[in-house]
């Protein structure tokens, strides 16, 4: 089926929330997955894998992650994926522009998250995965050398200031607008999204919207 970017982002966001993601994280990973889809990758599958992985993942937090020795353990994308880039930006203030990551559950979603940061700020990222693949992410798009990395694997994210653009420059829209989406994957998102809907009752049907049931005036 064909769908729009906005429509796809919206249903993936709801799917993420329906799977238990925090709203702010759901916002970011849904946009990341949509960016990947629009760039020709299977962003929806990656998102669904991340949501599955998140359910069983232990909540391991390393409070030393922001020490100078930059080591970010066990990246559960649907929980701490956005924090990878928060950490890198923070470290970059002290001149450290590289972050090592271990056991990334859905590694290539990092490229989508990186792409969104590039659209927000004048940044450029290189993500090297332990399987040998490497992604370069800038406002111009995502370039992958090697095969799409499957998780879990380790990786390194490197940040550069993108001298070619300024933070407020108009974004380069190189991605597709109308997207081809596998109906089965769409339906899986819809099932998860439905976890955010409240069951309808006769009372809510009558009173919840603030209007009557017929308008023959």
């Amino acid at each position: 089926m064909k769908c729009s970017r906005n429509e796809l982002t919206a249903i993936m966001r709801k799917a993420a929330i329906g799977s238990g993601c925090a709203v702010g994280v759901a916002d970011e990973i849904a946009r990341a997955a949509c960016t990947l889809q629009a760039s020709g990758y299977d962003g929806i599958s990656l998102l669904l894998t991340a949501l599955d992985a998140c359910v069983d993942a232990p909540q391991e937090i390393n409070r030393n992650v922001f020490d100078v020795d930059t080591w970010f353990p066990a990246v559960t994308i649907a929980r701490t994926g956005p924090s990878v880039f928060d950490a890198l930006l923070l470290q970059s203030q002290a001149g450290h522009t590289e972050l090592s990551l271990s056991s990334i559950d859905v590694p290539f979603l990092l490229a989508g998250l990186a792409a969104n940061r590039c659209m927000e700020q004048a940044l450029k990222f290189t993500i090297a995965f332990s399987c040998g693949a490497e992604a370069v992410v800038s406002r111009s798009g995502i370039t992958l050398e090697g095969v799409i990395p499957m998780g879990p694997c380790d990786g390194r994210v490197m940040l550069y200031r993108d001298a070619g653009v300024t933070a407020d420059s108009v974004s380069t829209e190189t991605q597709a607008l109308s997207l081809d989406v596998d109906t089965t994957l769409w339906n899986r998102c819809a099932v998860l999204a439905a976890h955010t809907y409240v069951r309808s009752t006769e009372a809510s049907r009558l009173d919840g919207a603030g209007a009557g049931l017929t308008d023959n005036d």
Binding site: R5, N6, V23, G24, D86, L90, E120, R199, S204, G210
Partner: protein, 574 residues
């Protein structure tokens, strides 16, 4: 749009402006403006989206290449117009509707008429596809060739009355026209990618359509033209020998109705940058007018005439809702008192508009906001063009480097209204916003009586900020936001909003949206006023009807004056 340090909105020069910023009084405080009660008192202004659209399409010709409508008024029609190098076509389908199924709610599954705005001129195969999908609305699938999807229901009384009268060679009853104001009312106008239609990205850099909701409101304007052609066609078909066309002044007075419910309210919360820009532009326009030291004689004359029109408009505005009717009646009295000082002599004094607006503060917020809209109206040369700053292509961005102590300072400095709410009081958590499984209809529930609050939509901004604040007060002082959110991703949403408010001061409604006192109707009216809607007709505290394009130019009137229809009356449209 970011608020510059100077407090001036960034605005591009237009041919009527020189390259320097006009003088400007201080902006009104967001603490004053961004309150529900005030937002629920807003009026349309000359910067409202319908007004700016009409100015932009001045001189354009509308064609009707397809009119395949039966004598009973069912079938399809196409209207086309060209803006720049792009042609757009409204494709309309009118279908029989069982009265038992006529509902304006989201849960509806059939309508009197359905529409798409097509990007280009539809070929025969496009029309066949759209004829199959458009009447299904949310249950249909659309393509990026479609830019807007909409539907409408008849005002059964007025449509039949106008048909009968025209068929009998008579004009319709003016009181009935005045009290209803439209033949059909739209019940949804979907844009930006819904159900497979084109994303806004497709059109966001095109002429005319780059501004907020321009493509949706272009669609609604074309729908208005269709409704008037439809009623005349049915009347003519009924009695071609006695039929007379609808008088032009009545056609002009007839707008297109709109029923709006809770679905519109969350938009104001989920688009803080955009809302900031809308508000900032409006406030900047007001600040410019307040800074006028001596009024132009032409504008004085215009303001005095508009003041009389306002009185007539208020006289025509009557609703069933007792709360709003009471406000209207109070407003009639207050506006009469306030405007009694609107004299040529008074307006010739120094800083007349600042003084008049100051005096309006003695009256209700309805009266204050009406005064704001009134003084903006004659000052197109000073404020037109500001609307270019209403667009937003960005969303708030997290600053992970910020320390939690700085975050705390932001909360204490700008969110004291949120900290002051006692959320242990059940009144303050009385309501919850949610999406029903019933055709995904947005609804409001009573938290302490109904199930489902664990699935509430995140409109509880004040509560989330307060929750984060309490956590921060007990956590290590100088960790980074990045560190905080690694450990507590549940605070990410609130953190972004707190940081954003510093940059976008008009981006947040400064009230408790889940409290007993929250009236969603206030949010609806705010947004609709930016569209340009008037004659708000609340049907409950969460549902309203409005009239759009009342008094606006007709499809064949874009060659004339397209800009004199603020708060229209039947007399002013003649």
């Amino acid at each position: 749009m970011q608020r510059p340090a100077t407090g001036h909105a960034v605005v591009k020069s237009t041919p009527d402006h020189d390259d320097t910023y006009p003088a400007q009084a201080p902006l009104r405080d967001p603490e004053t403006v961004m309150r529900l009660s005030r937002m629920g008192s807003f009026y349309p202004t000359r910067l409202s989206f319908m007004r700016t659209l009409m100015r932009q399409i001045s001189g354009v010709r509308v064609k009707r290449p397809v009119w395949d409508i039966s004598a009973e008024g069912f079938g399809r029609a196409v209207y086309s117009l060209t803006l720049g190098r792009f042609t757009y076509s409204l494709v309309a389908f009118a279908t029989p509707l069982d009265p038992a199924n006529r509902t304006d709610r989201v849960i509806a599954e059939a309508w009197d008429a359905t529409f798409v705005l097509f990007d280009g001129v539809p070929a025969a195969e496009d029309l066949e596809r759209l004829q199959s999908e458009t009447p299904k609305q949310e249950a249909g699938r659309f393509s990026e060739s479609e830019l807007v999807l909409s539907r409408a229901n008849k005002s059964v009384r007025l449509f039949e009355h106008v048909t009968e009268r025209l068929a009998a060679g008579q004009q319709p009853d003016e009181d009935m026209i005045r009290s209803i104001g439209y033949l059909l009312r739209t019940t949804a106008v979907y844009g930006n990618g819904k159900f497979g239609i084109a994303d806004r990205l497709r059109i966001c850099e095109r002429p005319v359509l780059s501004g907020p909701f321009q493509v949706e409101l272009l669609t609604v304007w074309l729908i208005r033209g269709f409704t008037q052609d439809l009623v005349e066609h049915v009347a003519w078909s009924r009695a071609p020998d006695t039929f007379v066309p609808l008088e032009r002044r009545l056609r002009r007075y007839l707008g297109v109705g709109n029923s709006t419910g809770l679905g519109m309210a969350p938009f104001l919360v989920s688009h803080p940058v955009l809302i900031n820009n809308w508000m900032l532009v409006r406030e900047t326009a007001l600040a410019r007018v307040q800074a006028i030291e001596s009024a132009d004689p032409e504008n004085i004359e215009r303001l005095l005439a508009l003041s009389e029109r306002v009185k007539a408009h208020l006289h025509e505005w009557n609703v069933d809702d007792t709360r709003q009717q009471s406000r209207i009646e109070q407003l009639r009295v207050e506006f009469g008192q306030w405007s009694s000082s609107l004299t040529a002599e008074r307006l010739s004094s120094r800083y007349p508009f600042a003084a008049l607006l100051q005096e309006s503060n003695d009256y209700s917020e309805e009266c204050q906001e009406l005064a704001v809209a009134l003084v903006l109206e004659p000052h197109g040369r000073l404020i037109d063009g500001l609307e270019e700053c209403m667009v937003s292509v960005t969303h708030p961005v997290l600053e992970p480097v910020m320390t939690t102590s700085s975050l705390l300072s932001l909360i204490e400095g700008q969110w004291h209204w949120a900290l002051a709410i006692d959320f242990t009081d059940q009144c303050e958590t009385h309501q919850f916003w949610y999406v029903s499984e019933d055709k995904l209809e947005p609804r409001l529930g009573l938290r302490h009586q109904e199930p489902g609050s664990e699935l509430e939509s995140p409109l509880d901004i004040a509560r989330q900020v307060q929750s984060l604040y309490r956590y921060l007060k007990t956590s290590p002082a100088d960790q980074s936001v990045a560190s905080l959110l690694l450990e507590h991703p549940e605070f990410r949403f609130a953190t972004v909003r707190i940081q954003a408010l510093e940059q976008y001061p008009y981006g947040e409604i400064r009230d408790n949206l889940i409290g007993h006192n929250c009236l969603p109707i206030d949010m609806l009216r705010c947004k609709l006023s930016f569209f340009g809607a008037a004659k708000f007709d609340p049907r409950s505290d969460r549902w309203t009807r409005i009239t759009l394009y009342q008094g606006a130019p007709l499809l064949d009137e874009l060659d004339g004056d397209v800009d004199d229809w603020w708060l229209p009356t039947l007399a002013s449209t003649a």
